[in-house]
Each structure stands twice: as C-alpha cells, then as structure tokens.
Symmetry: C2
Subunit: 341 residues, 2 copies
C-alpha cells in the first residue's frame, strides 16, 4: 500500500495485449501498477516508447506505467498481483517468483485456461504453488477484448473472489469510467466460463471458415454454453454465472471478434488448413487447444457429456475433418431442448 | 390431413421473408404447405416466378409450394396454421379468417412481438380471438435468420407448446436435414425471448452506430438477457428457456446480423438519424419499436426493473439522444453481478 495515499499497489505479470491493457485500466482507476515483461528488451521498449509496440501498438500507455523484466522489482510492495501469462506457463513462473510475492498479497488470474495433466483452474494452481487461501485468490473475467478496452470503449466485467470483502477491494482497484467491474463470489464458474469459451470459439471459427452464417454460430454458442453450464454444475459452480458476463458475455465477445486467436485458428481449420502445420506456424498461444484436452479430461472425470469440447479435441488433433465435425454434431438424435430428469 | 399419406397439411399465413422460408422448411420436411400472401399480385408473382422476389429473391422455392391471396383457400384442410404477420396486425387478420380456420387446427406463431395496449403475447391473442385451448397453440422461435434458412444452412430452433404430444407433432412436421427443432413446453418463455430480443437488438444497433465494438455489444446482450429472464420469471416462464435457443440463441443471431431490421434501425439512430423521420421512411415493420412500449408496460405491471427496455423506449421516442442512452446505462451504481435477495 502506498504510504501517501492509502491506495493499493498492483503488479501485472505478463506484458501481452491483455496484461498491458489491464495495467492501463488499473492506472486509470487510480491504482499504481508496474508491468512485468518476460523479455528485458520488451520491457525497455515499452518504457522507451510509452507503448507496447508488439502486442498493443495503437495505444499510448499512461506515463505513470513502468515496465520491468525483473520479477522482484515488479512484485516489491504489491498488494495485488495480477497474472496474465499463457495458462500452461503459470506454474513454472509462479514457482520462480514465489519468494518475491509479498506475503498477504492477493493473486488474481487474468488467464483463461485449464492446466493440462492436472486439469486445474488457474486459481487452483496458484493455491497449490503458493499456499494462498481463498481470500487471497481472485480472477477477472468478462467480455474484455484487450484492444477495445485499451481504446477506452465502455465494457463490463466480473471480479471474482470467494471472499466478499476482497472482491470489493478488487472492484474498487479496477473500476474507472470505461471499465465497470461487477463482483461475483463464484470463482469456479468464472474461471470455467473463460476457459471453455476458448474451445467453443474454435468451433465457431471452424463453422465460419466453412462458410456458415449467423444461425449456425448462434446455435453453437447456445449449445456450447449449455455444456459449459453442465460442467460447472458438476464442479459446484453457480449456474447463473454462465448466463452472466464471465459466461455468456465473454463467449459472445470472443466468438464475434476477429481479434480472437481461438476463433481465427478455428477459421483456418474450417478453410482446410492442417492443424499441426497451422499451430507450428503461429507465434502466439492458442489457449483453446491445450485447454480443450484439459476440459475433456475434467468432463470425463465428472461424467458430464460435452460434445462440443469432444469434437474440438478431435478436430484439433486432425482426427476429424471440419465437415465431419459439423455433420456429426448436427445429426445427433432429435430431442427436447432440456431432457427431463 | 392428406388422405394418401396420413401427413399433416399446413397453411403459412404471411409471405414475408420468414413466412416464405418457413413454407420451404415444411415442404422440405415432407409437410404439404400453402402460402397466403396479403396482396393478390404478390401471390401471383410467387406462383409465376417460383420465388419471392420481394422478400427472399435469392432462393428458388420448391415447385410444390402454391401461394394464394385467398385466406379460405390457404386454410382449407389445414391441420397446422402458421402465422407470420407483423405482430400488431395479428388480431385484425385473425378476426377476419376466423370462420375459415378448420376446427381443431393448431395455431402456431412465427411472430416475435407483444401487442400494444393489451400487452399480450401472440398466442394469447390467438387464444382470445379463436377460443383455442393450450393444446392448439404453439410458437416457433430460435436463431432463425430467414435468408440463411432458405439457403439451407444448418440451424436449430425451438417448437413450443404446453402440450407435449402437440409439440412432438410440430417437431415432426418441420424437421428436415438443415432445420433441427427441439421441443419445449414453456411457450411463455419462448414468446417473451423472441419479443424482447428485438428491443435489445435496437440498443446493440445504437451502440454500433456510435462506433462501439464487440465488448459493448456482448455486455448489452448479457445484461439484456438478464432483464428478459427477470421478466420471464415474473410471468411464470422457465428461466432455462432464456439460456436456450429461443432466448440466447435468437438474441445472438439477431444482434450479429446485418439482416436484422431492429439492429439496423438502431444503428441508424446511433449515427444520429431522427427516429420519427427514420420510421416514416421505412417500408417494413421494425417489431421492436411497438414491442418496446408493450414490454415496458408488462414490466411495470409486474414490478420488474428493465433498464434496457426503458432506455430503448426513450431513444425511440426521441426523448434521449443515443450518447445519453449509453452514458445513463453505464453510470448506474457499482454492484454485484447478481444482487442478493
């Protein structure tokens, strides 16, 4: 906490488009924030140019924003540690930083994925690595395309924490005139909503790449949200979360956006690109690819039927052609919208 | 029923884009259908050209489809009467046809609106005018953009009827390889979902006309669905319906589509057009305009807070400028996503 103002201090760990945009959100909310970048030259370039030319080139960053490649410097004195790394890298990095995270600091996930192998949500990984209790673990999730938020377009989001008071602190630290956070105590639902939407976005992309239009997209989104909700129920989430900003809201924004890497990846598959060649050619992570396997793993452990996740795993592995994916999903037996029982 | 095949016979009353596309859906499902057009020359042109040049010009209609401007001819022997008129015209037309509707025929709404003055759903108007019981009243609603369905793009929908057996008959009469109907016994929810989405689409259009992007649209859709669900709960609908194809699905398809008249109307408002001049210049009905007043009426009677419907009514009447509409909606007090209580 800063002595002069009593305000909380933040570290944002990860200088991709969303980490960078979120650091700007915090500063515009009056919360001092330091941005950690993995590469020394990237941190130096951000400080020199006052913008993130690599991932968010169109936006001038606030002059108060300082970037560093030294995790100890970024974390020093932080009350709130926001983490925006590729999901599958969280554990390794957090283990490295563990001695520099101030005791008592809150750890907040800006990530949307499930760890492969363990099938853990990001806050579960943070808890396991650091030993932090539920009152120190949070997540931010919602319809938040980084480039639009950085351009100060009005957006709503959810700040999730099991502990109500901690959630209110997160809300106060991030609310500004263009960014409107709602509190939600269902962190399980918020994290699942964000992770599964990347899988659904891949299927939406596949359908679009094949030339299908708005009806097909809307049907996939609707049925995708239904299977996300079934998974959430089995894991103790509140079903209402999936109808909210971190479920539906995020899903719609992602599936509509040409900015979504997951949707765009699916679109290329739908146009006939080979998934393995395509992945090898990309220099950014497509979260839905690894997460689709982890989610299917969760679904099997809990006995939940998730046909969309299953078909995406098969499309991404190259086992099913895009046309077969859609045909197989459409030809399931005729039934009521919500089976009884 | 046809003597030779035992199949149900259908009349589709209304030859706009959706009525015409739905007549094709029925014929492609093996259900003989006659299409009624309001104007004699329109019916004749459809029969002559084998297409509906006015509303669905790009699609060749099945040769079996016959159009007529004589309601008695269209209705003769019909087991299923689908109605696709502008919502505010339903009562007047139905009163005219009443003697020609075969006794026992099912009346199925393809419309998405609420009657002004009475605040009645379409199936309520049908019940009041004809005296039909719940087992003879149905509605079809879902993410069903007419032009995409006519092009045989795969789509899912809901056929709603309180009576399960009647719902299954509707499902069998309309299912074909590109059109996948799910049954749902919650006709109240299905009709409300379809009606309110046209109001939300106007606000989405306003935001887009002002230059806002995917985050803003996703936030409006999410909060709009939340207020639709609140209204539905107050009127005895099943909240799960709003998370399904007739709620969320239809809403997403409409809000994404340049084909939606409601969205396009909002977009023009967002660009600064005067609502009264704009309405006077259009030759098709914008359902959300009249329906927004009727829904607000319903909301007030039931004590439900519907800020989006209220702001759309004020924008459409010219009382609020588009920029004020968005500012007023964004600046409501900071709160939890789902207030306790």
């Amino acid at each position: 906490m800063t002595a002069e103002t009593g305000r909380l201090r933040a570290a944002v760990m990860g200088a991709g488009s969303w980490g960078t945009a979120f650091a700007k959100v915090l500063i515009d909310a009056g919360t001092p924030a330091t941005l950690w970048a993995r590469r020394e030259e990237h941190a130096a370039a951000i400080n020199r140019a006052g913008c993130n030319a690599t991932y968010l080139s169109e936006v001038k960053l606030p002059p108060e924003l300082h970037a560093t490649a030294d995790p100890a410097e970024a974390l020093a004195g932080a009350d709130l540690v926001f983490i925006a790394l590729p999901s599958q890298m969280l554990r390794t990095h957090l283990q490295r930083w563990i001695d520099d995270v101030p005791s008592g600091a809150m750890l907040v996930s800006l990530m949307k994925g499930i760890e492969t192998g363990t099938a853990m949500r990001m806050s579960e990984v943070m808890a396991e690595v650091t030993g932090a209790g539920a009152e120190r673990l949070g997540a931010v999730s919602g319809p938040n395309l980084a480039h639009e938020i950085a351009a100060e377009q009005p957006a709503a989001t959810v700040v999730a924490c099991t502990d109500e008071a901690a959630g209110l602190r997160l809300q106060a630290a991030s609310a500004n005139p263009y960014f409107r956070p709602y509190t939600n105590q269902d962190i399980v639902g918020c994290e699942l909503g964000g992770a599964v939407k990347n899988i659904i976005a891949i299927l939406v992309g596949i359908a679009e790449g094949m030339g299908f239009g708005d009806n097909t997209r809307a049907s996939i989104i609707t049925r995708g949200l239904a299977e996300t909700t079934r998974l959430g129920l089995a894991l103790g989430a509140d079903p209402a979360t999936f109808a909210g900003l971190a479920g539906l809201g995020d899903l719609i924004a992602t599936c509509a956006s040409p900015q979504s890497r997951n949707r765009t990846f699916g679109e290329q598959l739908g146009r006939g690109r080979n998934p393995h060649e395509l992945l090898a050619s990309l220099d950014q992570v497509v979260e839905g690819v690894a997460t689709s396997r982890a989610v299917l793993d969760l679904a099997r452990r809990t006995g939940v039927d998730m046909p969309i996740a299953e078909h995406v795993v098969r499309a991404v592995s190259g086992e099913l052609e895009p046309a077969e994916v859609l045909r197989s999903l459409m030809s399931r037996s005729r039934k009521p919208e919500r089976p009884a029982g």
